[in-house]
């Protein structure tokens, strides 16, 4: 986060979190581009992995991808038909 805050200060903001969405995304993209051999890059890829898991393990995220419900207790008895 220290690294991200420093990038934000270079953009005349007080901290990473105080930036608007596009500004934050630009810094995240910068960390991604640095690759896994750098600290910011390593942090980015690990956080992304954790975030994906955390996000999609919550049922609230499922409608957004078209996953209707947990496998049980309903199952998918319509499995032989085209999906809705």
């Amino acid at each position: 986060m220290q690294w991200a805050d420093k990038q934000a200060r270079d953009r005349n903001a007080s901290s990473f979190l105080s930036l608007h969405e596009a500004g934050r995304e630009a810094i995240v993209a910068q960390a991604e581009a640095m690759g896994t051999k750098t600290m910011p890059g390593m942090f980015f890829y690990q956080t992304l992995k954790d975030a994906r898991q955390f996000y999609y393990e919550h049922a609230a995220s499922w409608p957004g991808v078209g996953f209707p419900h947990a496998p049980q207790p309903l199952g998918f008895p319509d499995y032989a038909e085209a999906p809705d």
């Binding site: 996953f67 049980q72 999906p83």
Partner: protein
């Protein structure tokens, strides 16, 4: 065997190292965390084993490396890497996590030595096993097709086959465009209510444990009936650490560590060892004594040798249409066209192909996000929406033949919590394995292309990872005590009251057949023989 012997009013004591699972409580497919947790292991249900160094990879065989769209190549080392021997310690064993494909051996795959000069012949024919296959299928409630193919049947499957899923039908179309016959698989999953169990509701998650009990794992079929007979006692959390054997070619009992961590000695007039093809040889080798200095039942020197693994390949690709491919019965359809030992040109040993989305665990949003779609932010969410439900996977399993580099021994340095040396897995792929893998890869890709897929997104195979669900061969059965460990009924040639009954007694693996039904048929046959 516990089922068949207790039915004959034999008093049977089952000693199980792992815990008992309660399907409705322990298999949490209804919870939000269903995907994250994989198979929901409980304390004591995960075994440990060691690996010897695996072989160097050949950069020329780039096509056979495992990869996915997000991480690229998955093994970046110059060596084949151990992933795992995938198994469960628990009442019902690895069938708790199995898919439930219920296969009979191809009759020719039981005569690999006399017909093709490799592996060893089975000491019985398919015809001798056929009645026991029928009995096992009835006990499990197998749902299968009416066409028997190369495996003649004396009666139809107890239940009709499951209709193919919407996504599987695309794969079937792709196969048939190539002239490959593709049809319903024989499945230990109920297509109708049967024997007090409900029918399958196509949740696509057999490998995470079936909470409905319609999947025919050993706990809800054979062991349930064994306990109900009133003649079978089951103790869980009991690890056998050593078999005691005397001077008179008889075993006297077993040393165990119970769930309270205490040592016990349990005497028995007859012992049947069924710890699986990695743990059975370990226990026999760890039970060496002055009468059997090379390990128990190892007069032939074959205990631990002839290890055969799961030679597997899966290709997954995106289809342009939303198929809802996270739904349905795992491995609901199959092609046996290349399963006979001479069916793949230029190599001995066959293979089979199935639908594979669920076994590849590509049936939930986390897997798509981590392995297929990648990215982040809004563009990631859009890509997820576009990809989800469109993956088709073709899985293949091929013949694994014994070779000198594949065996189980005792690890010289690593021990378990009871101080017993871990089983150490040695695995080597030879040229024929690599040819089979190449054929499996090429064919899987061709089927997906014909099915209309436009982008391959993941491939995973045995070339650069050891990952086995089916293991065999380490206490081979046969007719000759010089070259095999047990006879055709699983009885040790020397030790009069010692039997082995699990996949370790298979002389050959078959061309990708799943082994459980054959283990069950062998057990029923051996129990019938014992009772006479």
């Amino acid at each position: 065997m516990a089922y068949a012997l207790s039915r004959q009013k034999w008093r049977v004591l089952v000693l199980e190292a792992g815990p008992r699972f309660d399907p409705s409580k322990d298999f949490k497919l209804h919870s939000d965390a269903w995907e994250k947790q994989g198979f929901p292991h409980k304390a004591g249900s995960e075994g440990r084993h060691a690996f010897a160094a695996l072989q160097e990879l050949d950069p020329e065989l780039n096509d056979l490396y495992s990869w996915n769209s997000v991480d690229g190549r998955l093994n970046r080392t110059p060596h084949r890497r151990p992933y795992k021997y995938n198994h469960v310690l628990g009442l019902g064993g690895s069938t708790l996590a199995f898919t439930g494909e219920s296969h009979r051996m191809h009759p020719e795959s039981m005569q690999m030595r006399s017909r093709y000069g490799v592996a060893a012949d089975w000491p019985m024919t398919y015809d001798a096993l056929e009645p026991y296959y029928c009995e096992a299928e009835r006990l499990v409630g197998v749902a299968g097709p009416s066409d028997p193919g190369a495996r003649w049947r004396s009666e139809p499957y107890p239940l009709p086959a499951h209709p193919l899923g919407y996504a599987s039908r695309r794969i079937a179309d792709g196969a048939s465009a190539l002239g490959i016959k593709w049809g319903p698989n024989a499945r230990a999953a109920l297509s109708q209510p049967y024997d007090g169990r409900p029918h399958c509701n196509y949740c696509s998650n057999c490998n995470r444990g079936c909470p409905r009990t319609d999947k025919g794992s050993v706990d809800v079929t054979f062991l349930r009936k064994a306990e109900a007979s009133g003649h079978c006692t089951i103790r869980t959390g009991i690890t056998v650490t050593r078999i005691e054997a005397g001077a008179d070619d008889r075993v006297t009992g077993v040393h165990v560590v119970n769930s309270a961590g205490e040592n016990e000695f349990i005497a028995t007039p007859k012992l049947i060892v069924s710890c699986g093809a990695v743990e059975t040889p370990r226990l026999l080798l760890a039970s060496a004594n002055q009468h059997a200095p090379n390990g128990l039942a190892n007069e032939s020197g074959q205990v631990g040798l002839n290890f055969m693994e799961t030679l597997a390949w899966t290709t997954s690709a995106l289809h342009p249409e939303n198929l809802g491919s996270f739904r349905g019965l795992p491995s609901d359809s199959i092609s046996w066209d290349f399963n006979a030992p001479d069916a793949i040109e230029g190599v001995v040993g066959g293979c089979r192909f199935t639908t594979g989305m669920s076994e590849a665990a590509l049936n939930g949003p986390i897997a798509y996000a981590q392995r297929i779609v990648g990215g982040w932010g809004r563009s990631h969410r859009v890509a997820m929406r576009e990809a989800f439900g469109r993956i088709l996977s073709v899985g293949a399993i091929g013949e694994s033949l014994p070779n000198r580099g594949s065996y189980i021994d005792l690890d010289p340095s690593e021990v378990d919590t009871n101080g017993i040396a871990l089983a150490r897995i040695h695995s080597q792929l030879d040229d024929a394995d690599i040819k089979r893998l190449s054929f499996m890869r090429t064919t899987a890709r061709a089927i997906l292309e014909e099915a209309g897929c436009n982008k391959v997104v993941e491939e995973y195979g045995s070339y650069d990872f050891f990952s086995s669900t089916h293991v065999f061969g380490t206490c081979r059965m046969g007719t000759d005590p010089e070259t095999s460990v047990v006879d055709s009924f699983g009885k040790s040639f020397r030790w009069q009251n010692l039997h082995i009954m699990d996949a370790s007694i298979f002389p050959s693996s078959g061309g990708g057949e799943s082994p459980s039904l054959t283990i069950e048929a062998l057990g029923l046959r051996a129990a019938a023989h014992m009772a006479t």
